[in-house]
């Protein structure tokens, strides 16, 4: 079961890396979100996948039962999902703004940062 799980994560991460390497900014962002999904699954796997009880402390007891699930990976994943989602949302907004100002989201045509102060083009080198 763990092997199937690991292969699935490998497939997701591999797809993510493939998308990140592409030239279209939207595909890059989708790749990043796939990568963070894969990472979240990896955290889940690291916590150990078994058939267990929900991690709830019963009334009258002050400890988890021995066969309950480990709640820590779930807390970590929740945090990572929230953070990852915020950053993906920011990147999407950035891509939208890039498209509005430059009319393109092809990374081959996004050269504004490289042109700013480039030593090879005396004309382009000025001002912030």
């Amino acid at each position: 079961m763990n092997l199937v799980y690991a292969l699935a994560i490998a497939a997701i991460v591999g797809t993510g890396v493939y998308l990140v390497l592409s030239r279209n900014v939207m595909r890059i962002i989708l790749g990043v979100s796939l990568l963070s999904a894969g990472t979240n699954l990896l955290i889940f796997l690291a916590g150990g996948v078994q058939a267990t009880l929900p991690p709830v402390i019963e009334q009258g007891s002050d400890m988890l039962r021995a066969d309950s699930a480990n709640p820590l990976p779930q807390a970590l994943i929740l945090t990572a999902i929230v953070i990852g989602f915020a950053l993906v949302a920011f990147s999407a907004a950035l891509a939208l703004q890039l498209f509005r100002t430059g009319g393109t989201i092809d990374t081959r045509e996004l050269t504004a940062a490289e042109d700013l102060g480039s030593p090879f083009e005396p004309k382009g080198a000025s001002h912030g």
Binding site: V25, L42, L87
Partner: protein, 507 residues
Amino acid sequence: MGDHGAATLLLLPLLIPLAAAAFTAILWRHRRAQSLVAAAGLAAMTGASLLLLRLVLDGGVQAKQFGSWAAPFGVSLVVDPFSAGMVVVTAVLALAAAVFGMADLKRREIRSGFFPLFFGLLVGVNGAFLTGDIFNLYVWFEVMLITALGLITLGRTRAQLDGALRYAVLNLFSTILFLMAIALLYGVTGTLNMADLARVLPETEPSAALTVSALLFLVGFGIKAGFFPLFFWLPASYHTASIVVSAVFAGLLTKVGLYAAFRVFTLIFEVEGSGIRTMVAWLAAGTMLFGVFGAATQYDVRRILSFHIVSQIGYIMLGLAISTEAAMAAAIFYIVHHIIVKANLFLLAGAIYRASGTYDVRRAGGLMRGAPWLAVLFLIPALSLAGIPPFSGFWAKFLVIDATFRDDAAWLGAIALFVGLLTLFSMSKIWIEAFWKAPPGPRTTPRAVPRPMLLAIGGLAAITLTISLAPEPLIAFADGAARSMADPAPYIAAVFGETTSVAEIAP
């Protein structure tokens, strides 16, 4: 000092900028009130950081657990001499940048939320320095990343959006790798507390998962810090930001990545005896060389300086590659010196722009006659960066190179010396072009540089001069910090015993 006071002091470097970020965000429309809150916040942060440093130097490593959960379960904040020193330097740098910003920030940039983002960045940086929990380190990294992206895009020019995209994608990728490394480490050890990891890992069998985790940490921090094959995002994005923002980034952000690498590879993974050490040595050599070669081809002051960040990171990595106590101390000295000098050079780039109207040194000129004080102020950090005696960079380079020769890594020392020479070449290029030669354009007399700019630059130059002429206190501090990193026992004891370290030392 009582336990309660110590714990509060540990929280202040986080709480003060957080409160300042909140208040400046509330006062979004009132520029003057925002500046007042910012000034008060920065002053309080500097004071609190200095008190914290004093507490650590007097009382040893301090730790605080949140929500009174005992150590491996709760989230801990830990401060040792290294992290306390970094928090102090952060506060000083933020103060200088804000003073400079009084004259440099455009109304539009303040209206776009400069101050809330700036304080948010400081929260992230201080959090990364103070946390004792590796997952929280990831969270602070993301806080830094999102605020840094906001700061880059303040001006909303096309170059800034483009630079922010490069910055965003690579740094997102690096934090994802970092998170994967954490997941693997957690899978093997079952704990996230750094002190607990330091206790558990030596008893753990070496396994493939641990090796992969160590490598992922190295690559993740490597992208953040700008190690050799992974630094290309840095000179492609830093120069697009507003100059105050560039100065803060140049001083702090890569150094947080380095700090994390030092933490993880001293406390958790042993650099000694594993392949990591040789790898870091090669990476350090590449980082130094390629950074300085990149700088040599550039003419835009900001781009020259951005590439120099990379080459200087290589010097600090040497400390990690050698990882003797002397090398660690040298690296810590180097980090402190470099944060001050590098940020100062970026602020000077802003002043050169103000005086001559361009960042391109080929089109600037005549500043020697028109702004002689600026020329003097430029010489101090420039010669210091190149490592000319008696400036602070000389001591930093001397300590690092001395450590390489003592540890039979003379080839690294030789590369470091060669790179120092090329650094001098870049600095003299800026000097000759911008200050020495006659102005090429129609504008013959440079514009006056506003007083707050000179004040900020002068203040940082004064700190550089103090370190240069009296390096002993900082060397002693770096030695102490390195000793406490080489021997993690007090760190672990402080996290698990909470107050033991204070009780032992206090009479």
